[in-house]
Amino acid sequence: MKKWTTLVLAALMLVGIVSCAAADTLSYTVFQQGDDVPNPVEAYEVSGVIRYWQDMFDIDMEWQIPPQGSEAEQMNLMLGTGDYTDIMDMSFNTESLSTLCDDGSIYDLTPYLDTLMPNYKAYLDANPDVKSALFDDTGRIYLVAIVQENPKQWGGLVYCRDILETMTGGNVAFPSGSEQPATIEDWEYMLDLMTQYFKAAGMTDYAGLILPATGYFSTGELISGFGIGGTDYVKADGTVGFGIAEDNFYNYLVKMKEWYEKGYIYADFASRSQDLFYLPNTALTYGGAAGVWFGLVQQLGGTMSLPEYGLNMNVLPIGAPADTANGVTAPIGTYLAATRATTNSGWAISTACSQEKLERILPALDWFFTPEGAATRSMGLSAEQGAANYEEYGEKGCPNGARENGSILWTAEMNTNTELGQYEFSQNRLPGLVVDYATRTCELSADGVDYTALGHQTWTQFGNSAVYPYVVAFTPDEMETVNRLSTNLQDYAHPMIVNFIMGREELTPESFAAYQQKLHDLGLDEYLTIKQAALDRFNARAAK
C-alpha cells in the first residue's frame, strides 16, 4: 500500500511539474508578412534562430502570414475588427502609430524601455538618427524596430562599360581624365559612343539613357549633378527645396532636351509610365540595347550577359555627372538607402497581448539588440549556442555550418538556405539590429569583384546630406495638405517636363519662369512650409 501511495504521489508530482513547465511557455500570435519568403510559415517555424530564441525565453510563436498581395487589407481588417494578433508586423500599416495607440490598439512601449528593454534603449540613446525616426513628437515609441547598422545602397545609375571598350578598342578616354564618367562632358562622350554602337549594330529600338516617364528621377539621380534634388531635398543651408521648381532645373532641362534631340535619350521614354524606375524597359536593358539606366546591384558585372548569344555585358555603377559648365563641381548627396529605421519596419505589441505576455516578450525582443542577439539574428547560431541541436544546422553539416563563436561571419545555413528564405527573414523581418557583416566569399563574382561594395561606394560617394528623410512624421492635417499639394504640383509639372525635353513645349528662360510661377500658384510655398516644419521637428527630436 505504501509503495502504491508513493508511486501515485510521484506520478502526481511528475504531472504537476510537467504541467507547470508547459504552462510556463507563453504563446504569441504574430501577424508577419512573408512576401519574399517562399514558404514563410515553414521558414519561420524551422528557423534555428527562432527556435533557439523561443527556447531561451520560454515563448512560442504562432505565425499568421497573410497571403501575398493581401497584407495591407489583412492589416486593415485586423485593425478594423479588433481581431488583433499579439504581435503585429507594421510593414503594411498605413495608420499613424500614435493614433493606433490612442485608439487602444497597440501598446506605448516608452514606459517599458528602462525596465524591460535596456539594450534597445541604450542603442536608441546612442543613435539619435534612429531615435528620431522611431519616436513621435510626443516622445513616445511604439515599435521594436528593425535597425540597419549600415544599410547598403541597392541600386543607382549604371552603364555598360563593355560598349565603351568595344567602341574605343579598350582606350576609353573621358574628357575629364577620370576613370569613370564624372562630368556632363564625360557623359556626352559616353552617350555618343553608345549611340554610335547601337546604330552600327542596326538596332532600331535602343536607348543611350533611359529616363523615367516623368523625365527625371524624383529620387535625385542625375539631377543631383545639376546641384538640386528631385522633388523634396535639403539644401546646404538646411532649408527644404523642391528640385523641379529650382532655378538650376532649367539647366537640367536644357541639357536633357539637347540629349533628346541628339538621340541619346530613349525616344519613347515618356510612354513607359508603367515601368518601375529601378526596372525600366527590361527588353532593352536585358537585350543589350541600353547604355545607361537606373539599375540594381544584382545587375552589376557580367550577370546580364548571354554569352551563348554573343552578348557580353559589363555593367558598372556610375555617379551623377557634375554640371561643371554651370559651376557645379560635384553632385549633391542624394543616395536613397540612408535610413536605418522606420516606423513601418518592426513589430508592435497589440493590446490583445496580456500584461504578463508583454513583460515576457519585450525582454526577448530586447535580446536582439545585444551584440550576441544581433549577430545571431543576422548571421545564425554559433556552435556555442548549440547550433547542433537544431535540425537544419545538422543538415547543413553542423558544427562546420555554425557561426564561429563571437564571429559575425555567415553560417553555412544562412549562406545556402535561400529556399526557406532565412536570409530575407533575418535581414528584413525580425526586429533587432541587423549587423554590418563582412563580405562573404560567395558575394564575389566570378571575376573576384565585390560588386555590392563597389555599387555602394559609387552610389554613395557624394553622401546623403541632401536627402529629405522619408521617416519625417506629419500630423494628419499636414499629411492631407501635403498629399493634396504634391498631387497638384506633380500633375502639372510632369507633363510640362516631358514636353520641355521632347520639344513639344518651348524651353526658354521666360517659359521656364512661367512654369515656376505656376508651381507657386499651385501651393508650392505652403507645401515647402509644412515640409520644413516637419523636418525641423524631426531634427529637434534627434538633438534631444
Partner: protein
C-alpha cells in the same frame, strides 16, 4: 429549309467568317503567348517584348517543375476541388429550392422574399460587417467560412425563378393530381425540364468557386493548408513578380532570379488549364440556359 446562297449572302458569310475567325484568333493570342512564354528560356524571356509565337531559346519545363514541386499547389488543388464540388452540388440544390419557392404564384411570401433577395444583389454589408458575422458564427479558419457564404447566390436564384416561371402550370397541376408532393414535383418533374439552366448554374458556380481567392484570403488567415488553388497561385504570382525578386535583397550575391518571370506564366497555365478544358463541354447549354430564364411567354 435550305436557304439559297445568293451573292450578297455569300459575301456576308465570308465577311462574317473572317471577322469571327479574326476575333477567335485575337482571343487565342494571349493564351498562346502565355503558353509559349511558360516554356521559354527565362533569360531570353526577360529581354523579350511583344507577342511570343514560339518558345524563346531551348524549350524548358523548369517553371512547371518549380510550380508543381510546391506541395501547396497540390494541396490547393485538393481544397479547390472540395469547395467546387460542395458549392456546385449543395449550392445548386439550395438555389433550386429557393428559386422554386419564390416562383410559386400561390405562395404569399414569394414577392417579399424576391424583393429581399433582390435587395441583397444591390446592397451588401461590406467587408468588416461580413467578417464579423462569419467570426460570430465561429467559422473563421474553417472550410465552412468558404462554403457557407457561397451556397446561395441571389443572381442564380433569380435565374432559377425565371426558368420555373416559364414552365406551364399544367406540369405541376398534373403531378399534384397524381399525388406528388412539392419535393417530388421540384426534383422529379420541374428540374429535369430546366436542365440547361441547372447546368449553367452549376457551371457558373464551378467557375466562380474555381477562380475564387478573395474569401479565403480574408477568412482563412491562419490555415494555409485550407487555401484554395487560386490563392496559392496568386501568392506565387506576386512572389515571383520580377520587381520583387530584384529588390528583395540588397546584396549582389542575390542574383536576379530569372525563373521568377517564367514561373508567372506557368502559374497562369496551371491555374486556368483545368477550367479551360472543362468549359467547352458545358458550352452548348449556355445560350439555352440563360435565355430560358429570360424570355417571357
Amino acid at each position: 429549309m435550305i436557304e439559297k446562297m445568293t451573292k450578297s449572302r455569300a459575301v456576308f458569310c465570308a465577311v462574317n467568317y473572317a471577322l469571327m475567325t479574326l476575333f477567335g484568333v485575337l482571343c487565342l493570342i494571349p493564351l498562346w503567348h502565355v503558353l509559349m512564354a511558360s516554356v521559354s528560356d527565362p533569360r531570353l524571356l526577360m529581354a523579350s517584348s511583344g507577342i511570343i509565337a514560339w518558345p524563346l531559346g531551348t524549350p524548358t519545363l523548369e517553371g512547371y517543375r518549380i510550380v508543381l514541386s510546391n506541395s501547396a499547389v497540390i494541396e490547393g488543388y485538393g481544397n479547390t476541388l472540395i469547395y467546387v464540388a460542395v458549392n456546385a452540388v449543395a449550392g445548386t440544390l439550395l438555389t433550386a429550392i429557393a428559386g422554386y419557392l419564390v416562383s410559386r404564384k400561390n405562395f404569399r411570401l414569394a414577392k417579399p422574399l424576391t424583393a429581399f433577395i433582390m435587395f441583397t444583389m444591390i446592397f451588401n454589408g461590406g467587408l468588416i460587417p461580413t467578417y464579423m458575422v462569419i467570426r460570430s458564427l465561429g467559422i473563421i479558419n474553417t472550410r465552412l467560412a468558404i462554403i457557407l457564404p457561397a451556397l446561395m447566390n441571389a443572381y442564380y436564384i433569380i435565374v432559377m425563378k425565371s426558368a420555373f416561371e416559364q414552365l406551364p402550370a399544367a406540369y405541376e397541376e398534373s403531378a399534384k393530381l397524381d399525388g406528388a408532393g412539392p419535393a417530388r414535383i421540384l426534383f422529379q418533374i420541374l428540374l429535369p425540364l430546366i436542365k440547361p439552366t441547372v447546368v449553367v448554374i452549376i457551371m457558373f458556380s464551378v467557375i466562380g468557386q474555381w477562380n475564387s481567392w478573395y474569401p479565403a484570403s480574408i477568412y482563412l488567415p491562419r490555415v494555409r493548408d485550407k487555401w484554395p488553388l487560386q490563392l496559392i497561385m496568386r501568392s506565387l504570382l506576386i512572389q515571383n513578380d520580377v520587381s520583387k525578386l530584384l529588390t528583395s535583397s540588397s546584396e549582389a550575391n542575390h542574383v536576379v532570379n530569372m525563373t521568377g518571370n517564367l514561373v508567372k506564366y506557368c502559374v497562369t497555365v496551371v491555374g486556368t488549364l483545368p477550367i479551360l478544358v472543362a468549359y467547352p463541354f458545358a458550352q452548348r447549354y449556355f445560350v439555352t440556359g440563360i435565355t430560358l430564364g429570360g424570355v417571357k411567354g
